[in-house]
Amino acid sequence: MPDYEHDLRFGIFATPTAQPPQHAVELAVLADQLGLELATFQDHPYQASFLDTWTLLAYVASRTERIHVAGNVLNLPLRDPAVLARAAASLDRLSGGRVELGLGAGAFWDGIAAMGGRRLSPGEAVRALDEGIDVIRQLWDTTQRGGVKVEGDFYRVVGAKRGPAPAHEIGIWIGAYKPKMLDLVGRKATGWLPSLGYLPGGVADLEAMNARIDAAAVAAGRAPGDIRRMLNVNGQVSPSREGYLQGPPEAWAEDLAQTALDYGISDFILAADDPALVEFFATAIVPATRELVAERRS
């Protein structure tokens, strides 16, 4: 039962709807005011009823003060990694170090192709993401001499100047479920970001996937603790406990704390479009979860 001993962080995952335009922003501002650590948004550039996620992140970052912002996760097939790297570093410098990079290999290829992106097979998408991460890391790393040099099958970036360096170490988080992607997480990511809704067996599925990530990390000369284990969750507050994250705040705290301790999940990101739920999460559930984890860890 791993506990990577990471500090707990909590955040929200709000729908970036274009109408009303300030909906997602207001939720992020609220989360910021309530002391939550993360404001994240999905990225589907082919979805015409959503705001563009990168644009939204820049705007949200400027309207908030402490909260970190991230795509959950950004659609790499439609976002050039070199330009994205510089954009992320720019926003990180503007915001005083509050950007994190959630990246996705892409999944909805019809949508991607409709927007003029190239269509990849799942296997190709993983390799492209792998190369994209290399481009991004090289571009951020101003300690190295010479330009970026990634001569991959999917990205060719040769000679691009490095910099500016981000203001802090921007996390690279990947959502992953299948072996090749889990391996990539272990090799190159600093955060693993699956969604509860895509775990057929619920949180119990996390164990085997954690192990795979751990193995890949070690094989790449990294420590399992180099990778934060994160989880997108959704739930309902109800008077009695009816299931995982279906119950009163005490039950939520119990569920989250146990998941933290059993599976080393340190970042819980709640899907929420209702300010009341965000408020409830931040004031009733988060503190109780922290307390339980602190108690049980000691």
């Binding site: 015409a48 705007y59 003029g116 970036v157």
Partner: protein, 779 residues
């Protein structure tokens, strides 16, 4: 002509705070535009698009543009969504400065494409098309674009930007200049990059190429803004060099470029706050004056040809008053998709004038009056079932920008509300005071339309109608005058406004005396078995009439579904925070039939009313609705309603509560005179003929009609809505206040002919008749 001014700030990545501070300073100094260069391959610069997003969050008014974006590294489909998104977030402040790209080795090193000059221009041309197509969310078809450089294969259009984002191109060579003439809204050029020695000549030649290409494409050169990027130093001594001297010399240097060479936007390239300040304070005002004196207003920018091509016959678009021009929406504008339809109706108005003040209402009305033969509608929330608030080829005045809610007197509970506010916002604003004003059952409905007709809401039995709480109304009349009406000021007009207001003018402010409400109320939603429909309706009616006034209920029944039991949705609000009192009030209602589902919660009135989305209206077609007020749900009424429903005469049948406090009001007190009914029935149908056929037998049972739920505008309907003595008085008032029948679009009350024949007008304050009940007296 009014010049515009912008700044061009170096987006240095080493000192982001300084960059942002300069942008904020530019806004404070009154610049119209802030711009930044885009070189995504340069680590010394912040990413331009990201920076603009950040600056958007730190500013409120200044417009934002890259000068210019690097198209090769920014694929146009995602760029289109990004621009629309920022325009929505920044409330309409984005401009799209676009460049074909120039530093190809650097672009290539980033993994970007390599393009010949011809390919670069081609790509820019295609990008412009893709941007405009994807922004046009009013067109449903997804975009299929097969260009030489770009392919878009079935991308959905949208989101709709907040405004028509102008596209300007950076250019120096003829091919790009011709492209600007053909397709763009502006030309951005840096004075200092024009060949030294003959900069003005180059500028003129460039303008000529743009102008010629524009004319060839059927455009007016005045559609294309000429944007000049300039830089200089403020010195105390005059000199020969361009922009090297005191502010007065700068004015002398720049004025000819505007007066003779058509530059309408000057962008100052400077990272020095003092220079920005001196320019703003000592150059701009003098330059505006000099150029304003030399150039007439007719040289102002024109709306693009592609927009003008969609104009409708008979509307004097170019004569829209200056104050209304930016907010006016015409069929070629992107925003048209957002404003053309209402909640229940598809529309295609010729122009929508959005107004935010009394003066603007007056100007818009004057403009509308110049078009007596065109349809003319007034829109508050756009929720009208009977209220049309859109039309085909006519004029609409949109009041949604006049939406203030303010407390005038805390002790007297007097509140001033503007017509464009929505009832859910009113409920939310009153909640902290412990107050509520009954309105309707849907929070998205606008104040203006409902408060000039009636207002049958969830507190009706306890509070009466919305109009019963009106203590004053300020109205712009047909002749443009603003009058304040109340019990003591123009009382006849005040009488008319409460029930027939749409016929008399545009109310720009209402004053209501509101009531206290329990901090928490009981809110019930029941789904009940209605298989014994006639019996169900009777029992519900009896239960509601017997209920304490704290309870108001409403029921809704849809079309019967084959093989499924008929159900009714019953809603009830109890103005009490005491769970026992709530249960006691609800029990008799819950007992009338088996319950399939029930949900009873303790909530607030404001939360009950927060049931509307904030999305744009997307109605299609024309609704068919009938309405009637009955005293009781008698067995016969119940039976007739049952026949209507079971024979598929309606897809939406609703009964709302009247009675209680509604009937405390003197029928003579206002134009809405139905004070004997306990229920208003309404039904919507897919077929007018079918609905009418089943509605006709109900007619004799009606003691009146609620205008807002009735789409039949025949004189028979008007005669039921306004019984003879009321109608007569209304017609006389109409002849006095709107003799030319300007306000004719809703349940038109024709002005009395007697006034036109010169008969003596009745004294305004003379009462009409005595206190006997008006109208049909059946059931």
């Amino acid at each position: 002509m009014r010049l515009e001014f912008g700044t061009f700030i170096t987006p240095g990545s080493d000192d982001p705070e300084r960059v942002v501070a300069l942008a904020v300073l530019a806004e404070a100094l009154g610049y119209d535009l802030v711009t930044v260069q885009d070189h995504p391959y340069n680590p010394g610069l912040l990413d331009a698009w990201t920076l603009l997003g950040w600056i958007a969050g730190k500013t409120e008014r200044i417009r934002l543009a890259a000068n210019v974006l690097n198209l090769p590294l920014r694929p146009p489909a995602v760029l289109a969504r990004s621009a629309a998104s920022l325009d929505l977030l920044a409330d309409g402040r984005v401009e799209m400065g676009l460049g074909a790209g120039a530093f190809w080795p650097a672009i290539g090193a980033m993994g970007g494409p390599q393009r010949t000059p011809a390919e670069a221009v081609q790509a820019t041309s295609e990008a412009i098309d893709i941007l405009r197509e994807l922004w046009d969310a009013g067109t449903r078809r997804s975009l299929r674009f097969r260009g030489e450089v770009y392919t878009v294969d079935g991308a959905a259009r949208g989101p709709l930007p907040r405004h028509d984002i102008p596209i300007w191109l950076g250019a120096r060579k003829p091919r790009m200049l011709r492209l600007i003439g053909r397709k763009a809204d502006g030309w951005s050029v840096t004075y200092g990059f024009l060949p030294e020695g003959d900069r003005r000549g180059e500028l003129r030649r460039g303008n000529a190429i743009v102008d010629a290409a524009a004319r060839e494409a059927g455009r007016d050169p005045r559609e294309i803004r000429r944007i000049l990027n300039v830089t200089g130093t403020f010195l105390s001594e005059r000199g020969d060099a361009f922009l090297q001297g005191p502010p007065a010399q700068w004015v002398d240097d720049l004025a000819p470029l505007a007066i003779e060479d058509g530059v309408s936007t000057f962008i100052l390239m400077s990272d020095d706050g003092a220079t920005l300040r001196t320019f703003a304070q000592e150059v701009i005002p003098a330059l505006q004056e000099r150029v304003g004196a030399a150039l007439p207003a007719s040289s102002d920018l024109l709306r693009p040809a592609r927009v003008r091509a969609k104009r409708r016959e008979g509307i004097a678009y170019d004569e829209v008053p200056a104050s209304l021009r930016t907010a006016a929406v015409e069929p070629g504008d992107l925003a048209y998709a957002r404003v053309r339809n209402t909640y229940m109706r598809g529309g295609a108005p010729g122009i929508v004038l959005k107004v935010s003040s009394v003066a603007e209402v007056q100007e818009a009305l004057a403009f509308a009056r110049r078009h007596p033969d065109l349809p003319f509608g007034v829109r508050s929330g756009g929720h009208g079932i009977s209220g049309r608030s859109t039309n085909d080829g006519g004029i609409v005045i949109d009041l949604s920008g006049m939406n203030r809610i303010e407390v005038l007197d805390e002790a007297a509970r007097l509140v001033r509300i503007e017509p464009g506010a929505r009832w859910m916002d009113v409920a939310a604003a009153l909640e902290p005071h412990g107050w509520a004003l009954t309105s309707g059952d849907y929070g998205g409905v606008g104040v203006g339309g409902l408060a000039t007709a009636g207002g049958v809401g969830f507190l009706a039995r306890e509070q009466g109608l919305t109009i019963d709480h009106m203590r004053a109304a300020e109205i712009v009349l047909a002749d443009g005058t603003l009058v304040r009406t109340s019990a003591t000021e123009h009382p006849d007009l005040f009488w008319a406004i409460r029930g027939a207001g749409a016929n008399f003018g545009i109310v720009t402010a209402f004053e209501f005396q509101v009531d206290p409400v329990s901090p928490q109320v009981g809110w019930a939603q029941f789904v009940m078995d209605a298989s014994d429909l006639g019996g169900f309706l009777e029992r519900w009616g009896a239960a509601v009439e017997a209920a304490p006034r704290a309870l108001t209920s409403e029921l809704i029944i849809g079309a019967p579904r084959r093989g499924q039991p008929l159900v009714a949705m019953v809603l009830a609000l109890v103005d009490s925070g005491d769970p026992q009192a709530i249960v006691n009030a609800l029990q008799p209602i819950a007992d009338i039939a088996p319950l399939y589902q029930q949900r009873v919660v303790l909530t607030t009135y404001a939360d009950v009313m927060a049931n509307a989305s904030r999305e744009d209206h997307n109605g299609q077609g024309e609704p068919v609705a009938r309405s009637g007020i009955v005293r009781h749900i008698t067995p016969r009424v119940a039976q007739l309603a049952e026949e209507l429903i079971l024979n598929n005469g309606t897809y939406f049948f609703q009964i709302r509560s009247l009675g209680g406090a509604v009937n405390d009001v003197d029928p003579e007190a206002m134009a809405f005179s139905h004070r004997t009914g306990n229920f208003v029935l309404s039904a919507m149908g897919a077929s007018r003929a079918r609905l009418d056929a089943f509605w006709a037998p109900l007619q004799p049972h009606f003691a009146g009609l609620y205008l807002n739920f009735e789409t039949d505008v025949t004189p028979e309907r008007i005669a039921i809505a306004f019984p003879p003595r009321v109608l007569d008085r209304l017609r006389l008032l109409k002849a006095r206040y709107d003799p030319d029948n300007v306000f004719r679009d809703n349940f038109n009350i024709a002005p009395a002919a007697t006034i036109a024949l010169g008969a003596a007008a009745p004294d305004r304050d003379e009462p009409v008749g005595t206190g006997a009940h008006e109208g049909h007296d059946h059931a």
